[in-house]
Subunit: 248 residues, 2 copies
């Protein structure tokens, strides 16, 4: 058996997320089916493991997935064959042979996400699937003050989406930065791991703080409270992109 490490970019607009779901088409399903022409006669396509789930409508510039295969095709040939088969909203941007047993999720040391908020009165038609349209005036200094309070090791239970079964809700954020572009605020977050909806809850909460509906210091209370009801708004999925996954 051979382990391949795939790096993927996708426009998540038309998918239920990376992971297989019964209610619609996932990136995982489409990717697994794209292996079919490479499989020996009678052998089913392999299961692909992603580094992270990504919600419906969330995008990726550098999602990582691993797959165990038996065939001898060169990694570069696998990349080409997958891209021929995949729809243009999913692209394999790299394939390499990894150490046998290497696993995209279990061996991930961290992830980087980007969340884009458009602050223009009218949303560009070209951004409609890739940003949250939040035109309310925002004070970025207040957002940065709040962001700084999120950096470090904290219990992020107040920023975890309902319905998650994760027990240990402590995570470490290495970077929570806000960049101001014309008509746009971009949030960049790096951390060792992320709870369900965590980046979106942070983005929504920072937007509320920027808009004056909450105070930067509220972050401290939210982290202490450890209850979702204390956290802020969950920002829409479309603004979120998984930028990269870090490995040893």
């Amino acid at each position: 058996m051979r382990t391949l490490k795939l790096t993927l970019a996708y426009d998540g607009t038309n998918y239920v997320g990376f992971q297989r779901q019964i209610n619609g088409l996932s990136v995982q399903q489409v990717l697994e089916e794209a292996f079919a022409p490479m499989m020996p006669e009678g052998v089913e396509p392999p299961t692909v493991a992603g580094a992270g789930r990504t919600d419906a409508g969330v995008h990726a510039l550098g999602q990582v997935a691993t797959v165990n295969v038996d065939f001898a095709h060169a990694a570069s040939a696998v990349q080409r064959a997958l891209n021929v088969r995949l729809p243009p909203d999913i692209r394999v941007i790299g394939v390499v042979d990894a150490a046998p047993g290497f696993h995209a999720r279990f061996h991930a040391l961290g992830k980087s996400y980007r969340y884009r908020m458009a602050t223009t009165a009218v949303l560009s038609p070209f951004d409609r699937h890739f940003v949250w349209h939040a035109p309310e005036r925002k004070d970025i200094a207040r957002m940065r003050e709040a962001a700084a309070l999120l950096v470090g090791k904290h219990d992020f239970a107040s920023f975890q989406g309902r319905g998650s079964t994760v027990r240990d809700t402590t995570r470490t954020l290495h970077r929570v930065e806000l960049r101001e572009l014309p008509g746009e605020i971009v949030l960049e977050i790096d951390g060792d791991g992320f709870l369900r909806h965590m980046v979106r809850a942070i983005a929504g909460t920072l937007a509320e703080i920027g808009g004056g509906r909450r105070e930067p210091a509220d972050i401290t209370h939210m982290l202490k409270a450890r209850r979702r009801a204390e956290g802020g708004l969950t920002a829409p999925a479309a603004g979120l992109t998984l930028v990269s996954v870090k490995y040893p």
Copy 2:
């Protein structure tokens, strides 16, 4: 009667072009229908005149359209009402009152277009509707040499799409520039007017010259020949964007 000047941005992917066609949905039709709620009882929505047709799949950052209306709504209220009604792939980015009789097409002095070519081996899923994937290696110096020969007043008959009924095929190009970005070449063209498929034929021809299949000096022969068969490849619509329209 009052004349309103509308500035529009649209993602042309899902439209047959700006102008009404019998074979599908046009930007013009959707825009005219968006006027319905503002019209007095029993009055049909007005006809909107665009500065240029734009082909199916071509985009706009600054298309201009004029419309004659009788109602008293303020220009800013018209903009808001249209954007509420329009799908998110068409946005009205400005509405102003113009001199009565002002016409988006007849009074246009020139237009600026942008054509994007992706030169990466794998096309980003986020660019798939907005660039031409032309990964063949290109010599931009050759393309610039050819572009310089297109600037000025010429008969562009060799760059006019078949089926056009335009008689005078002389146009003046003020600027034909190529910018090199990582993994991308961007063509910027300003002129007093454009023939059918003219920017796409220029983009395709420049790509052929960049790839070594034609010589920069071929431009001179093409301009002299005045026959479409002498011109180069027509590049796909998706790469093209109408950037702005110039008026006195």
